[in-house]
Amino acid sequence: MRISRLGAVLVAALTAVVLAPGVAAAAPPSNDDFDNATPITLPYAEEIDLTEATAAPDDPDACFPLRTNTAWYSFTSAQDTTLRLDFGGAYLDTAIFTGSRGALELVDGTCSGNEDVRSLTAQAGITYYLKVAAEEWEGRFRFTADTVARPGNDDFAAAETIGSLPFLGHVTLAAATVEADEPTASCDHNPGSPSVWYTYTPAETGALALDADSWGGHIAVAGVYTGTSMADLTEVECVGYRSVFRAEAGRTLFIQFNAADAGAEDVVFGLRAAAALEPALRISPEAPSVFDELLFYDSSNDPEGYGTGVEELDFGDGTVVNPEQQSYAYHRYAADGDYTVVLTVSSIGGRTATTSQVLSVRTHDVAITGFTAPAAGRVGTTKPLTVDVANNRYDENVTVTLYRGTAAGYEEVGTLTKAVPARPRRTVRFGFDYTFTAADLAEGNIVFKAVATAADVREAVPVDNTVIAPATRVHPASTGAKS
């Protein structure tokens, strides 16, 4: 597959005649060797083809010796300057050296093997050598170089004033500097990274959401300070990714923004008012009674994504709890009534929110306190069954359903609905008649069951709403005169 170098040259020579004398297709670039390094003149732009580039035996293997298709550039400036080196997103190994052939010295921190934009901080009068290495199959790309301006808000004294929120700032930090007495933010793990400054004076007290280039992956850090001068800054917040913090009206904030791994790439700084909490309280079960252990659950939402904690839960009956570390609490009411339940939640940045709801506690409790079913019956005869229903809380409409149980299960045989007033000592009787059948005889015995249901309410004590009688024996129809 691979064309020999000689062959490639021959082909190149032949085609060059026919096609385009100026374009040396598939030939090593002129700056293949260190001695022929191309001087970078600003602004610089070139379509690079490293497909046929080679490595010289004495090329420095300081950082990434893997890729062998290399080319060299040189740069010398009359004054201190910072360059932005953009390889159009190609995945390359680059390194920058000073010195001379055979005695090249790597410039600290210039080894990179990625697709990023690189930067070069050049001192006046020094010649820098840029080595660019690619894989053979991805050796074509566009290379541009230009100076990077020093950000206008590089110095604390020139901090950019943020007028109104939301604010979004794009900045290239490559030419930024570190001032002599500049503080290091508490969460900055790369002290001494060049920074820019912003300042903001909130008109009202509230929570601010700060985004320190959270999408960029450049290890950005924003230190938030109060004070009057660089010398008396007090840190109030340090944001390594993004966060929400509280700011007071009229108190000026100074924000120091850096990114240790940005090089000449843009980084993004964002500041806006934090979203308010959306409080919500869920209570279960619905339609509770005094017998229920109620679950109160904080289902609030923080649009900023930090979650909420319960500050206080007032059950409205004189009981107030503070369930630390828990998003729920249980409570039981001693008496029926309408209670105003108040939930207060909080989240980072001093944000709090309150929600309330009126909870109606009603204890509906009807009960079957009497059930008479026949112990035996003959086929063809009719016998009475009675169901006595007690109710001492609220007036109810009660339906009693009578069932007949066989080996196949229960089936309904009758239903009656009556108003049952709330009376402590008296019951309401529901009467049924049942006629025994031949099918009952085949079963040997049948089982009567009665169920009482109060209309449209939740029954507080269901166990006493169902009765099941002992089995009723079934006998054949009596013969002759007796029936």
């Binding site: 017998f291 409790d365 009960a367 079957i368 306190t369 009497g370 059930f371 112990a375 006595d388 007690a390 001492n392 149980g405 066989t406 080996a407 299960g409 229960y410 040997g444 015995n445 089982v447 507080a460 004590v461 166990v463 006493d464 169902t466 009765v467 099941i468 009688a469 002992p470 089995a471």
Partner: protein, 368 residues
């Protein structure tokens, strides 16, 4: 891969001209090759006798011919193919398998009954796989082996005793009672993959069924031997049996007496009576109390309850009312009866009772 000598045509014809074609081809194609004679069993009359199964025979078809009046195997894809003959006289009445090992496509094994070429009846024909033939003791079967492209290599004919057809019985209920309808299944297994053409059930109580999956309800307790016989399309059959123990356990709550009211601290009697007209056995009665939080067990007792037409066995309990019963002002008693030793009650509907709620008041001394 395969180049047939002749185009397939409709089955069942009698060959006339094929031999001539073969003879001409021989003289033209291979004059220098030493001409081998046709095999000794080329003709029907020279059929090679085969002994008792299992038996293996070599069939040399390279120089085989067809015979005027020779039948075409009904399943042969290439009628008119040369053949050789074998004769098998069955020593026993049984099912055998026949199998011709051949690299070529279209090798066919046919079996005929009858004693002369003009009076043959085909009883078996397979053109690519092993098949089963039911043979009768003493009868002679003529085996015709044909192949459309005879090769120098011999074809092996194998006769073997057919593998047994087998089946097993499964059922839906392990411990049925006379109240249950049991589903019976049978699971045939057969290495020959034969189609099952007949199923016959005998439930052991004088009733039978011909359904592949049968349902049956026994009318009386007892031990019944269920038998299933299945028949395959090739004549083999299999039988399986299983004993079903039908036992109808059925106890009932015949009475449940609870107090209508009580005071906290007061002790009152509760009685459960249990009836049994089926199998005498130990019965456990469990007593529950119910309130706002549901039912909870408070007592249990186990007694022997004999099978008796009318008399019952009483399970007496004492219940002392507790402060928790005051929460709703009422307590509800419930009872459940169950059988010892894992026996299954056939009729569960009468194994429980729930009493009307008992009113509960504070203790006589004012305690709650």
């Amino acid at each position: 891969m395969h180049l047939p000598l002749r185009q397939p045509r409709a089955h069942g014809g009698v060959r006339i001209a094929t031999m001539v074609v073969a003879a001409v081809a021989l003289t033209v194609v291979a004059p220098g090759v030493a001409q081998a004679a046709p095999p000794s069993n080329d003709a029907f009359a020279g059929a090679t006798p085969l002994g008792t199964v299992p038996v293996t025979a070599e069939a040399e078809l390279a120089e085989a011919t067809t015979e005027p009046g020779e039948p075409d195997p009904s399943c042969s894809p290439y009628p008119g193919s040369p053949s050789v003959w074998f004769a098998f006289t069955a020593p026993r009445t049984e099912s055998i398998t026949l199998w011709a090992t051949s690299e070529g496509f279209g090798t066919t094994v046919a079996v005929h009954s009858g004693d002369s070429l003009g009076a043959l009846t085909e009883v078996y024909c397979r053109d690519y796989d092993r098949g089963v033939l039911a043979v009768t003791a003493g009868q002679t079967y003529r085996i015709q082996l044909t192949t459309p492209q005879p090769a120098a290599i011999a074809i092996r004919l194998e006769l073997a005793v057919a593998p047994d057809l087998q089946t097993q019985i499964g059922r839906s209920l392990y411990d049925p009672s006379t109240l249950d309808t049991v589903d019976f299944f049978q699971y045939p297994s057969d290495t020959m993959g034969a189609q099952i053409t007949g199923v016959e059930w005998d439930f052991g109580d004088g009733t039978t069924s011909n359904d592949a999956e049968a349902r049956h309800r026994y009318t009386a307790d007892g031990d019944y031997v269920v038998r299933v016989t299945i028949t395959a399309s090739d004549g083999r059959s299999a039988t399986a049996t299983q004993t079903v123990f039908v036992r109808t356990h059925d106890v009932r709550v015949a009475g449940f007496t609870t107090p209508s009211a009580g005071r906290v601290g007061q002790t009152k009697p509760i009685e459960v009576t249990v009836g049994n007209q089926r199998i005498s056995e130990d019965v456990t009665v469990v007593l529950y109390r119910g309130g706002p939080d549901g039912f909870a067990e408070v007592a249990r007792a186990t007694q022997y309850v004999p099978s008796r037409p009318t008399r019952t066995v009483a399970f007496p309990f004492n219940y002392t009312f507790r402060p928790a019963d005051l929460a709703a002002g009422r307590v509800t008693f419930r009872t459940e009866v169950s059988l010892a030793d894992g026996a299954r009650d056939a009729r569960l509907v009468d194994n429980e009772a729930t009493a009307p709620a008992t009113t509960v008041r504070p203790g006589a001394d004012g305690r709650s």
